[in-house]
């Protein structure tokens, strides 16, 4: 049974876990919440034990989900097309079905989601405020994100897409920092505006083709997809724009990025990690799953704009990151820059560029996730994120500074780390691309210099120099639990950096076999080099 419904089990296990948390740990008296400040020496007092049980339960649920996704990875066949398909009637009045399935584009994103969720929950053991609700929201969030990556029905996709917003809104709004309400509302309004636009496009597509079956619509050459292509280009452009705008906000692409720094800064650490690590990739995924296969001609026509915005985002994000006084904001703006690379890869329409974009989506989850965890560790110790509050930490917290160094090297795309592989594939793809080409690539490559500027400068100000502040001198180094959260990320940094081929095998057949952008739509001279598509001479 499990084998038939592996994906459904994966998607809903965290949700079931969340409901179980609510059922098993009914609202406790006020004292319990207070006592959640668990003191290891206080013995198994009821409130402390309760908080520990909640944490452990959430961790076990997320670990079980992760284990399921490992089964998924193991059973995934390295070929194109959807696998683990499940379909059932759902909302007959709209013709909507519950259809889920994954292919080479989504499989690694699913694994990334479950992986980062484990770490986010493991990291959040220090959260004391309303721990049960916190874990419940994290688990619901995980279910919703998995749903987005697995849904193969437009309406189902939209439901999961919206469902992601709610737990994240509360995570920021309740467990966030000083300006959390502002950030939560801004986050909600921005992404909700995008979502409404997407709803418009969605309804339009369903009205036009009479089906919400994404598993067919997203395959170029399928009957439904051909039917869609038969409609006037102008109206398709409008529909494409409505989808594209929604995804642009989510990615976020310049100039729709300003919600990101606020949301990141105010979110609790685990929220930032999930936000940067997974949620931004939902936008990238939307482009690859919906925009490119369903609207190839429109994507081609608009590629100039998207490449320009992507490259502007790379440079702009990096330049602005350099002058941030707040560490978390710096990392947030660096995400704008990194996601610019990803979008450049997507809109290069080359196999290399797209695979690089997918890889970099994973890599960014790993390296930025690591950076947010580390900034969180510093915040937990000093209750500030101001860069000037630190300095000379290499001496007081050597382990933390080592992990930070690794995250930094991954973020600046040093060879043999994961960042280089993705960035190089993207840039090489965009260099070969008819849509981007060498000049845009050269401008984008300047981002590699700027990333070194802001990351090294940050590292210098936080970890080098004299250890002049008393609070920093007495700072405890990483705890075992914190190390356990960070070590898997370091492993991935080097695994993807040194031996990326096994991971590429997951995505390569899907990216290369059915042309996401068909020759009809792409007036490109093809070159006979093996495995390269959309390459110009």
């Amino acid at each position: 049974m499990l084998t038939d419904h592996l994906l459904s089990a994966l998607i809903f296990l965290p949700l079931v876990g969340a409901l179980a948390l609510l059922a098993l740990f009914p609202a406790a008296p006020e004292a319990a919440a207070h006592g959640a400040e668990s003191d290891p020496h206080a013995g198994p007092s009821m409130p402390g034990g309760r908080a520990a049980a909640i944490r452990l339960f959430a961790l076990v649920v997320s670990l079980a989900t992760f284990a399921l996704s490992c089964v998924l990875l193991a059973r995934f066949q390295m070929k194109a097309g959807y696998q683990f398909l499940e379909s059932a009637d759902w909302l007959p009045m709209f013709g909507a079905k519950y259809t889920v399935g994954i292919d080479g584009i989504s499989v690694l994103l699913v694994a990334l989601t479950t992986f980062l969720s484990v770490l986010a929950i493991g990291y959040s053991f220090t959260v004391t405020k309303r721990i049960k609700e916190y874990m419940v929201f994290l688990l619901i969030l995980e279910s919703a994100m998995l749903g987005v990556f697995c849904a193969l029905d437009l309406i189902l996709f939209y439901v999961f897409w919206e469902a992601v917003l709610i737990p994240m809104y509360f995570l920021i709004g309740i467990w966030g920092h000083e300006r959390r309400t502002y950030a939560a509302v801004k986050f909600f309004l921005y992404t909700f505006a995008g979502s409404v636009l997407m709803l418009v496009g969605l309804v339009a597509v369903i009205r036009l083709v009479g089906s919400s079956d994404l598993s067919a619509l997203s395959i170029p050459g399928s009957e439904l997809n051909d039917k869609l292509q038969g409609f006037p280009a102008q109206s398709l452009m409008w529909i494409y724009a409505s989808f594209a705008l929604a995804f642009m906000v989510k990615v976020p692409m310049f100039p729709f990025h300003t919600w990101l720094p606020d949301a990141h800064v105010e979110a609790p650490t685990a929220g930032s990690v999930i936000l940067a690590g997974v949620m931004l990739k939902m936008g990238v995924y939307g482009f690859m799953r919906i925009c490119l296969p369903m609207f190839p001609q429109q994507a081609m026509q608009s590629s100039g704009l998207f490449i320009a915005l992507a490259v502007i985002g790379i440079i702009y994000g990096a330049v602005v990151a350099a002058v941030q006084p707040d560490m978390k904001k710096l990392v947030a703006y660096s995400s704008v820059s990194h996601l610019g690379y990803v979008m450049l890869g997507v809109f290069s329409f080359t196999h290399l560029g797209m695979m690089g974009a997918l890889l970099q989506s994973i890599n960014h989850g790993v390296s930025t996730g690591m950076l947010f965890f580390l900034v969180g560790c510093l915040y937990d110790r000093r209750h500030t994120r101001e860069i000037t509050a630190f300095g000379g930490l290499k001496r007081s917290v050597p382990a933390l500074s080592f992990f930070f160094l690794v995250a930094m090297l991954s973020s600046v795309a040093l060879p043999l780390t994961n960042g280089f592989v993705g960035e190089f594939a993207i840039l090489q793809g965009s260099y070969l691309s008819k849509t981007a080409g060498p000049v845009w690539t050269a401008v984008a490559a300047v981002g590699a210099i700027l990333s070194a500027v802001y990351m090294l400068w940050l590292f210098q100000r936080v970890f080098a120099g004299p250890l002049s502040k008393e609070e920093n001198r007495a700072m405890p180094d990483l705890s075992l639990r914190e190390k356990l959260v960070l070590v898997p990320l370091v492993v991935l940094v080097f695994w993807f950096g040194v031996a990326v081929t096994p991971w590429v095998r997951y995505m390569e057949p899907t990216i290369t076999a059915p042309k996401l952008v068909r020759p009809k739509a792409a007036p490109i001279e093809y070159i006979a080099l093996p495995g390269m598509d959309g390459v110009r001479r």
Binding site: L189, V196, L199, V200, V203, A204, L208, G230, F231, P232, Q234, S235, L236, I239, S242, H257, T258, Y316, V319, V320, V323, H351, L352, M355, K394, R395, L409, L414, P415, L416, V421, F424, A425, Q428, Y431, P438, A445, V446, A448, I449, A452, L456, W457, Q460, F463, A464, G465, P466, L467, V498, A499, V500, T501, E508, I527, A528, L529, G531, M532, V535
Partner: protein, 684 residues
């Protein structure tokens, strides 16, 4: 391509130092804690040095095998995975990169230099860093550097070379800012990494251009489809290699070379890099890493040779840098800064050689320079050690009798760099200059400026020697016990004993390098140039480019010897007669001389670039953020939000539930837009 008997050993060359780095990082501190300070440090130092020397031994074996069994082309591929396997690194979308070494004369020569000179400098460092609190961390980085440098020279593809290329940059960054507690050191490290990154982007774009034209990043393959194989025959993946493509590729890669090898205008990071411990300056910023650009240009010589205008740029930038830096070196007072600018200048010579097609001569100078510049830096380190951390030559003098081994060995280095006959630098510099004279059109100009720079080089090195050793003592004898050995600490404000010779671990490398500086050039005499013949298979074939000798070899050598003698003589005369104060001219004369003022201000390059990019860039970034992000974009959003708020205010009066009003607004808005869109479209 031939199979080597020792092919399955090649992977050990880079991996041994990597093992060292991992050991020191993981266990170094624990070993020192467990065995006690003295024995623990001895063990860490011994492992670090021993592994590099073991790597040197493997290199020697592989080299002899290559010479004997390498066949006509003396070329072989060898896996860099465990046991000589060839693991995939990146295999996606037509890009196929593996961990594989290209074993040929060029890579093996560099392996010998990196592990040989590197091993000696490791040994020296065990003495120099003996009491540093971060001893294991130092050797972690130092061994890691050797690993990365070996990947750079051995890599069988441009991408693998880039791994080493950025890897050595990382190690350089980590080691320059090794004493990170001083913010200036950390800043110098950043500057090195960032300026190098500018060059790296050139390398990266060069690689991408190669891939787009040749469809591969492999240098050479067994079936002759590597991009150098193709380029050598004037071909690309699909067509003939055009001069335009060759020029574009060459210039992009040369940007990379300018960064790593400190050529104008990207040389500004190297003098600051002297903030690192002196063994670092000797190994990374003199003998090995900074020559990577020359190695890379030589490796790509089949492409450079087909781009005459790019070659002209290489020669011009090289020579310009050589003159510029020699001028600055002549007015510096910090002993390490003199040597730093001297390195920049000598690197310029190497590029001059490459630029006129004499790639072998350029590499020959890389080799001899590795000997005498490593020697001079280590000697300077020994002087600094003797002076308890003092680096200012104005406060030295009279050291020749006090630290005899250091003095004697540095004399060898001085004569070698000055180009005095039979010493190493004499032969290599002469080859470059003679080839420059033979260059068409502008040969005489290149030669004249080159000779002028050689004169200046001989002079400033004599100045250094005179100021440090031969002029009267200008420092007050420090108090405290004198004559204690290697158990003192360094550099960092520790005042300790009087002037004293360095421990054996430091003087032995000096003596070995001094011997090499004396005889090391004899492998490349114009009459029996074994060096050039050895290197021949690795450089552009004579059908592509042949360097011309400008004058008969003997005449050239004689001219070189005269110039060197003149420079040394002028220096000796000047400091013998006027050098009592340590200054040649009084302050007023110096300040009124525009050349002097320019040189002391580093020709303003650093200042102008910093002002534009650091000062201006920072202000620009700040303004972008505050204005564009906060005011413009957020302003627009806030305006929308405000409008929405106002509308919501109206809506709120008609609706009671907050959530419901959202839903209604959403649905109404959605419906309106849907209707609008579909209005124009439901007619297929």
């Amino acid at each position: 391509m031939h199979d080597l008997h020792t092919g399955q050993w090649v992977w050990l060359i880079p991996v041994l130092p990597l093992v060292g780095a991992l050991l020191h990082a993981g266990l170094g501190a624990r070993v020192i804690a467990a065995l006690g300070d003295k024995r623990g440090r001895w063990l860490v130092g011994a492992v670090a040095t021993g592994l590099v020397l073991a790597s040197f031994a493997v290199s020697c074996v592989v080299l002899s095998d290559l010479v004997v069994n390498g066949g006509e082309h003396r070329r072989a591929l060898a896996g860099l995975g465990p046991g000589g396997s060839t693991p995939d690194w990146i295999r996606m979308g037509g890009l196929h990169l593996r961990f594989e070494a290209l074993v040929d004369p060029l890579s093996m020569l560099m392996c010998l230099i990196v592990t040989g000179v590197g091993g000696l400098i490791h040994l020296y460092a065990t003495g120099y860093m003996a009491t540093d609190r971060d001893y294991p961390r130092f050797f972690t980085y130092f061994n890691l550097f050797i690993f990365m440098m070996l990947v750079l020279v051995l890599g069988s593809s441009a991408a693998l070379m880039f791994v080493g290329w950025e890897g050595v940059g990382l190690c350089s960054y980590l080691l320059i800012s090794f004493w990170f507690e001083d913010p200036e050191n950390a800043k110098a490290g950043n500057k090195a990494f960032i300026v190098n990154r500018i060059g790296d982007v050139g390398f990266l774009l060069g690689m991408m251009t190669v891939f787009s034209i040749f469809g591969t990043l492999n240098f050479r393959t067994a079936d002759g489809t590597g991009f150098l194989d193709l380029a050598e025959h004037g071909r690309t993946a699909a067509a003939a290699l055009t001069v335009g493509s060759a020029t574009l590729i060459s210039l992009l890669f040369f940007v990379g070379a300018c960064g790593k090898s400190a050529q104008f205008p990207l040389y500004i990071w190297l003098p600051d890099a002297m903030a690192g411990p002196t063994p670092v300056s000797a190994l990374i910023h003199a003998a090995t890493m900074v020559t990577a650009g020359v190695v890379m240009v030589t490796r790509l010589s089949p492409i450079f040779a087909q781009a005459p205008s790019a070659m002209m740029v290489v020669a011009a930038i090289g020579l310009f840098t050589a003159v510029l830096a020699a001028g600055v070196a002549a007015v510096q007072n910090d002993i390490k800064k003199v040597l730093a600018y001297s390195t920049v200048s000598q690197l310029g010579y190497m590029f001059l050689g490459c630029g006129v097609g004499a790639f072998a001569a350029g590499m020959f100078h890389v080799t001899t320079h590795a000997f005498f510049k490593a020697l001079l830096f280590l000697g300077a380190g020994s002087v600094i050690h003797a002076m308890s951390g003092e680096q200012d030559m104005r406060k030295m003098g009279g050291l020749s009798g006090r630290i005899r081994v250091t003095h004697a060995t540095m004399v060898a280095g001085w004569l070698a760099i000055a180009g005095i006959p039979v010493f190493a630098g004499f032969w290599s510099k002469d080859l470059i200059l003679n080839s420059a004279l033979g260059a068409p059109l502008y040969g005489v100009l290149l030669y004249a400026v080159g000779v002028g720079t050689a004169l200046l080089t001989a002079f400033y090195m004599t100045r250094l020697m005179a100021k440090a050793f031969w002029t009267p003592q200008r420092f007050v004898e420090p108090h405290g016990d004198t004559g204690h050995g290697g158990d003192d600490s360094h550099g960092h404000g520790h005042g300790h004993g009087g002037v004293h010779e360095s421990p054996r671990s430091m003087t032995v490398p000096l003596i070995v390098l001094a011997a090499l500086s004396v005889v090391g050039g004899l492998v490349g005499t114009p009459w029996a140039n074994a060096f050039e013949r050895f290197l021949e298979p690795s450089i552009a074939s004579p059908s592509l480019i042949v360097p011309h000798e400008g004058m008969p070899a003997a005449t050239g050598l004689l001219a070189g010897a005269l110039v060197a003698a003149l420079g040394v003589g002028a220096g000796l005369y000047a400091y013998r007669t006027k050098g009592k104060s340590g200054f040649l001219a009084d302050e007023r004369t110096r300040k009124s001389n525009p050349l002097f003022v320019g040189a002391t201000n580093l020709w303003y390059v650093d200042g102008i670039l910093s002002r534009i990019f650091i000062g201006g860039g920072g202000r620009f970034a700040d303004r972008v953020w505050r204005w564009a992000d906060r005011t413009l974009i957020d302003g627009a959003v806030n305006a929308v939000a405000w409008t929405t708020g106002a509308v919501a205010e109206v809506v709120r009066r008609t609706q009671s539930g907050y959530l419901r009003s959202y839903a209604v607004t959403m649905l109404v808005g959605a419906a309106v837009v849907v209707a609008w869109v579909l209005g124009g479209s439901v007619r297929p």
